[in-house]
Structures are given as structure tokens and as C-alpha cells.
Symmetry: C2
Subunit: 457 residues, 2 copies
């Protein structure tokens, strides 16, 4: 142990190694509701890829587990270290290296937060359009979880914006994959394999991200519906219209009540409409041209009413912003209300009505309370699950995931598997695929030091 500590100090400098016991409590956990806080043996903060490589060499030689940590905002426990692990925190590698306005890319270190990138891109009239709700999350964490968020219906998720990475392998080799180009057919796409791998294949020390022109005009339409099924039925039609919404979220009445209450939000909806609405659709539009936006807003309002909305309200800018923020923080509202777990299963968007019906059945049968909201445009449902009994809860979750998979879905749309959903993943996923993934893991990490216990046992 002392050997390892001094070896790490030689690599990153004594100031950048702490014993797990001395490090802040925050390093022991992420935001996952079921994560078990665990202090690692060491918290190490490398300054560059070279130092990261040396840490991995030391780990591989000694068989010491390594867990990467961005901002610890993950919801699957994937950044929670083992007690004997080196936690590699990317807090010092936090620079936006370049905003390339000609190629429309940003080159960032992994510790850069979404908030910083948002500020830097805004200065150049560009935008990194992936908006997972928690802006303190790091780009390294976003890449490793393939983070999504509300704008995915228009722009896709992290995967679609990572053009390249610099990554350190468990062998200590530093590789560069992809680059400032949007396509290639030059061998296997290692970048896409590393995206979403939850720190189990390689450590990302730099990412090249695709940017978009920042469009000047945005507007938000809020449409209350009499029932949840009508909301989710409307979703494919809004997508098919070609209006191309930036955001297309559903929020059930319970969740809307909770987030507006928590955030002291007045939406200006008549009491009587509010009282009879069981769910809401939030549609945000954007355009580079104000007039076109106005036309699209009008068309959206008409469309939503035709699809069964009780009414359609254009929210004033500040209310819209606050509603979106409240929605982004819905996780904390659920946590505050005592939710025992959250899931973010994804399925074909047209299967949402059937899935929501099954959710109600599963909830009732298992005496579990389930409410939620979701990136409806992507078929990504975020449900808060209230059930204190661990066995009953596990049974309900298994049934929810099984139902989603039966309808053509997958366990997680964006939060990842980590520790939290691993049992369900290993239980429900095709064994041939699990075996293949393990062989891929072996190809990257022969000594198995990268985030052991995440994804696989």
C-alpha cells in the first residue's frame, strides 16, 4: 500500500494523491439512489494522458482496480470505487483545449463540465447540443455513459457528437481514435465502442466533439392532456410532422405537480384545466429565423390540439426556462419525495402507450408507486419507483425491464448499467451477447483492472 502510494506520488506529484480515508466524502459515491458509498484506497488526479497511462501501468502490474471519476453525477453507481481501488479523478484535466469554428468542433479534456462548455461555445455562436439535465456533469462522464438529455430528439445523444477520443488503455498505451471529421471507414470504430462503456474499456483523456450553429430563436409550447395514453400517442405524430422539435418531453400530472411545487413555478394554466389533466407534453422549437419559428409554433399548437390536447400554451421565455430547469432537476424532486430507485428504460416510441399501461399493472400488482416523465420523442421513460421493500422493488424493476425489452426496448436509455442495474442486465440480456461483451472487455483490459464489478460481475 505504501509502495503504491509513493509510486502514484511519483507519477502525479504528492499533492495530487490522497488516501481514500482523507478524501472528501463525495469521492465515495455518485448520485445513484441505490449506490453504496465506498471510499477507495487512493484518489489520484492526473494532469495529462501520460500520467494517466503511468497510473494504469501501475494498476495493471499490481492487479489494482481503477475507477474513473468525472463529477460523480452518474445515476448507476458506475463511478463508485471499490475499497481497494485507485479512483482516478479528472478534476485537474478540465480545460477546453479548442473551439474550432471552421470545423465546428470542440476539443476538451475529460474534466470539463457541460456548463463550462456551454459558456465557451456560446462565445462563438456555436452549441454542443447534448443537454443531459445535470450541467455539472463532466464531458468524460458524458462520454463514458453516452449521456442523453432532452434535446436528443433533435440532435441525438453523446454518441452522435463524439467524433474522436484520446484514450488510455489498461496496457498503458495511449491511442487517438477518430478526429475532426464526421465519418470514416478505416478499421473498427473504437471511438463508438468506448462511448458508453462506463469506464470499463479505457480512460478518456480528451474528446473531440461536434458542435452546431447556435440558433437564435426558441419557443416552448405546453400542452395538457386528459390522459397519459393520449400524450404518448401524440408523440410519433409530432415527430412525423417534420416540425423537428428540439425538445419533446412528457411529464405526468403527479411529477408536474411535484416539480412546479418544489420550484415554485406558475405555469398560468387555468385551475380547471390543470385539475383535469393527467399528463403534459412540452414541445420546444428553435429556428434561426424568428418568423419561421412563429409559424412553427402556431402549427405545433394546432397539431397538439388536433391530437387531443385540452389546450396549448406558449410559455413566456422565463417560465419556459424555469420549467425546463425544473424538469432537469426532476430527479432531485423524486429523491426528495423519497423515491427508492429511478429507471430510464428506452423503447420504440410507438410502444409507449402499451408500456405505460403495463407499468400501471406492474405497479398495482407489486403495491409499488410509480410516477414519471420522459424524453418521449426518444421513447426514453424516466420512472421514479417508490417501494421500501427491497425484494418487492427488485421484482417490480425486473418486470418493468422485462416488459420494456419484450416491447423491443432496452434497460437503460442514458443512465447506464453500472452497479445499479447490473443484476437485471445480466439476468435479462442474451447470454451470447454478454459473453461477447466480456470477450471485448478482455481484448481491451486483459488484467481486468478497469472498473471491475461494473456491467459484469
Amino acid at each position: 500500500m505504501t509502495d503504491m502510494r509513493s509510486r502514484l506520488a511519483d507519477i502525479v506529484g504528492a499533492a495530487n494523491v490522497r488516501d481514500g480515508a482523507d478524501a472528501a466524502e463525495d469521492y465515495a459515491r455518485d448520485e445513484g439512489l441505490t449506490s453504496v458509498a465506498t471510499r477507495p484506497a487512493f484518489v489520484v488526479a492526473p494532469g495529462d494522458a501520460g500520467e494517466t497511462a503511468e497510473i494504469l501501468k501501475a494498476a495493471a502490474e499490481t492487479g489494482t482496480p481503477v475507477t474513473a471519476r468525472g463529477s460523480g453525477t452518474g445515476l448507476s453507481g458506475a463511478a463508485v470505487p471499490r475499497a481497494d481501488a485507485i479512483l482516478v479523478s479528472f478534476e485537474r484535466m478540465n480545460r477546453v483545449l479548442e473551439i474550432d469554428t471552421e470545423n465546428h468542433v470542440a476539443v476538451v479534456q475529460p474534466g470539463v463540465t457541460l456548463r463550462e462548455l456551454e459558456e465557451k461555445t456560446a462565445e462563438h455562436g456555436l452549441v454542443y447540443p447534448v443537454y443531459p439535465g445535470e450541467l455539472s456533469g463532466s464531458l468524460g462522464g458524458n462520454v463514458a455513459t453516452n449521456a442523453g438529455g432532452m434535446r436528443a430528439v433533435r440532435y441525438g445523444v453523446t454518441r452522435h457528437h463524439v467524433l474522436g477520443v484520446e484514450a488510455v488503455l489498461a496496457t498503458g498505451e495511449v491511442i487517438r481514435c477518430g478526429g475532426k471529421y464526421v465519418k470514416a471507414s478505416t478499421g473498427y470504430d473504437l471511438t463508438q465502442l468506448i462511448v458508453g462503456s462506463e469506464g470499463t474499456l479505457a480512460l478518456v483523456t480528451e474528446a473531440t466533439l461536434k458542435l452546431q450553429p447556435r440558433l437564435a430563436h426558441q419557443a416552448t409550447v405546453l400542452a395538457p392532456f386528459g390522459d397519459l395514453t393520449a400524450v404518448v400517442r401524440a408523440v410519433p405524430k409530432v415527430v412525423a410532422s417534420g416540425i423537428g422539435p428540439l425538445i419533446l418531453e412528457y411529464i405526468d400530472a403527479m411529477t408536474m405537480g411535484a416539480i412546479t411545487y418544489t420550484h415554485d413555478l406558475q405555469l398560468g394554466i387555468p385551475d380547471q384545466v390543470r385539475d383535469t389533466s393527467q399528463a403534459y407534453l412540452v414541445v420546444m422549437l428553435e429556428n434561426r429565423d424568428a418568423e419561421r419559428l412563429d409559424d412553427d409554433v402556431a402549427a405545433t399548437g394546432e397539431l397538439l390540439t388536433a391530437l387531443g390536447a385540452v389546450d396549448a400554451y406558449v410559455l413566456p421565455g422565463p417560465s419556459a426556462r424555469r420549467l425546463i430547469e425544473a424538469r432537469e432537476q426532476a430527479f432531485y424532486t423524486a429523491k426528495g419525495a423519497g423515491a427508492d430507485d429511478v429507471i430510464d428504460t428506452v423503447l420504440p416510441r410507438a410502444a409507449l402507450p402499451e408500456f405505460m399501461a403495463r407499468v400501471q399493472g406492474i405497479a398495482q400488482a407489486s403495491e409499488t408507486f410509480v410516477v414519471g416523465c420522459g424524453h418521449a420523442g426518444d421513447g426514453n421513460v424516466h420512472l421514479a419507483v417508490f417501494q421500501k421493500d427491497a425484494d418487492k422493488r427488485a421484482k417490480a424493476l425486473r418486470e418493468l425491464f422485462a416488459a420494456s425489452m419484450e416491447l423491443g426496448g432496452a434497460i437503460s436509455g442514458e443512465h447506464g448499467i453500472g452497479h445499479a442495474k447490473k443484476a437485471y442486465f445480466l439476468d435479462l440480456e442474451d447470454p451470447a451477447k454478454i459473453a461477447l461483451m466480456k470477450r471485448i472487455k478482455q481484448a481491451f483490459d486483459p488484467t481486468g483492472v478497469l472498473n471491475p464489478g461494473v456491467l459484469f460481475d
Copy 2:
């Protein structure tokens, strides 16, 4: 050999196995200019995934190489079998299984051609927006090469539209990856790994493809420029404008001359402008609204003139269609003119001016004639290389690829490595990445039967 033949006949039925010597000459080759035609031992046409799996089991047991074949329109020799190989032709698995209008996806068998899919999606007002130039190409081949084409600047390439695959592993296992959803964080993304793997990791027996609403209105602007550098300099500005072109191609004067001549095309450009133009930009726009399209066309014309175009012509529909078709078939024009090889290197689009300057230097120094066109919006340059001397040509190609990589590019943007560009790939690519890719190959295909000789030696 007879054993294998009867075993294959047992699997797919005698009518669907041919000896290589009896099969049509076409099975011995693809469209690659440097591919060496080779008849396989057997040509087998499975009817479904189960039969495909049985073929692979037989191959793995006996160590017999297997090469998948779609339509044989590839340009890298990747579908050219070895003499001792089983060529698995997907000609019988050629059905569009579903056009799902609610989820906006198509489910296809691998032998479906782009042309068939275009017809089927049109019936539903949807479109599969990836348009690699050769519409007789199969979706299986498109997936395996990560095919691109002219519309990638707007919609991305094949990779961005493959939501899931059914694939047969060399172990004979059939797996389903992804599905009718646009995102997931549920283990490694096997779909994205299989896309672009040129038949070396798995055989694709079904693909789930993302569709888009088919927009009603299109227009094409043709802008001649005095010199090539001005054209490629204009490209990032057009992208940055936010106009969002569907197509953004450059065509040099020599190539424009050749394709208009071959296709007997009148563009209606005054002689004097044509004679002084060294390169052209072709910008195609689309919109769901005719008025918006008109405005965008006007804005594009102004922008191009401001960026140095001699003029900007809005092409009448039929001329535009014929110009795009001629551009799609530019490969055959180059072949007809005696080109000895074609390359399709990709690089950051802002590096195009510097790259084009280096191309001229390399061409002159090696006494090689190089002309071209390209998906300029993606930084994907298609060059026809005229040099009869194989050594000189190899040297020139190596220098072209090295220059592209030095400027942040990669060897192939969409055609793939196959046999044709393998020597350059193995020579110029980072050995650590090659070694990692080989370990991944091993994880999928432990007996090494899938397309040996492609990508790796």
C-alpha cells in the same frame, strides 16, 4: 471438398449452392479498380439467419474462410473471396420486412438494394436519407462498409441510421443488437462495432434503419469558382451559415468536363464562365415548405457569390437530377478514362485547401495525374489517380494518405480498407490501434474464418 458441398447443400438446399467455377464471373470481384478477381470454392445463398449460422458453423469447424457478398459494388475489394472460401451471397434475403411509420424505421434483410428501399419508403412519405452513389448496392454491404454518399453533410452516414442489427457470429450464434430506438446505454454498442467492419466480425442478416420524413421540396444551386482553393475555402462558411444543405459537393473542372461529356449534360453556363472556372460547388437544399426553400435558395446564391463564386445558377429540376446522377457515376467516368486507382480520404473540412495544395505537389513530384470531386461538406475527397507504374502509384498513394493523416484525417471516409488500402492502413495506422483491433477481431471470430485478408494480413 465434396463433403463441404453436400454439407452446404443440406443447409441451404442443393439449388442454392454452386461451385465457384460454375458461378457467374461477377461473384469473383467487386468494383475496386485494383481488386484481383478470384473465384471462391462455393457460392452459397442462405434463406435466413438460421441457415447463415449453420454455414458459419461448418466453416469454423473446418477452418474454411467465409466472405459475405451483397451486390459487389464495393470499391475496396472487401467482397472478393479467397479461392478456398465460401462466398455467402445474400441475394435471396432481399425483403423489406417492415416500414414502421410510427417509429420511423425500416427493417430490412441484407440483400435489399438501396433502390428498393427508396421505392418502399417513398410510398409512406418517408426516406432513408443515406445515398451512396450506387443504388444497386445492398443494405448489408452499406452496413458493412459504413457507406456514405452525398447527403451525409445533412443526415450523416450509414452508421448514424443503423439502429440495430441481427448478426450471426463466427461461433454460429445469432444475436440481436439495438432496436427501434435511437439511443441506449446498456452495455457495449455492438451494432456500432459491426457497422463498418467489412464482413470481418459478423454477418448481418437483418438491419433496423432510421427513416426521416420525406421533405417535398428540393432545389440545386451550381456555383463555378475561379480556383479550387476558393471552393474548398467556401465549404466551412456554407456549413456555418445554418442553411443546412442536403448536398455540398465540389467537382473540379476536369471531372465536371468528363462527367458532363459522358452524360451529354448541358448545364446552361455561359462558355466564358465555364472556360475560366477551375472548380464547382453543388449545393442542394430541401425543405418541407416551398416558400422557405425559395428564401434559402436566394440566401445561398448570395452567400456563394460573397464567397467568391463567379456566379450561382439555380438548376432546373431535370438538369439538377442528371448532374447529381452523373456525379454519382463519376467513378465509372474515371474508370472509363483509364484511372488506375481511386481514393476517398477524409479530413477536417477546413484542412481541404491545404490538402488540395499538397495533392498537387505530390501529383507533380510523382508524375501522377490526379483529379477529383468530393463530399466537401464532410471533408471527404474522392480522387482518381492515373499512374500506370505500380510502384510509383503506391508511393503517391502512401504520400496522399500520409498527408491526409498529418492534417488530422483518415485513409477512407466511406469505401473502406478491404484488400485495396490494407497495405497503407497497416503501414500508417498506430500499431497499438491495429493490435487492439486484432484482439477485437479475435473476440468475435476466434477461428479467423470471417473475411481473412481484409483489414489485416
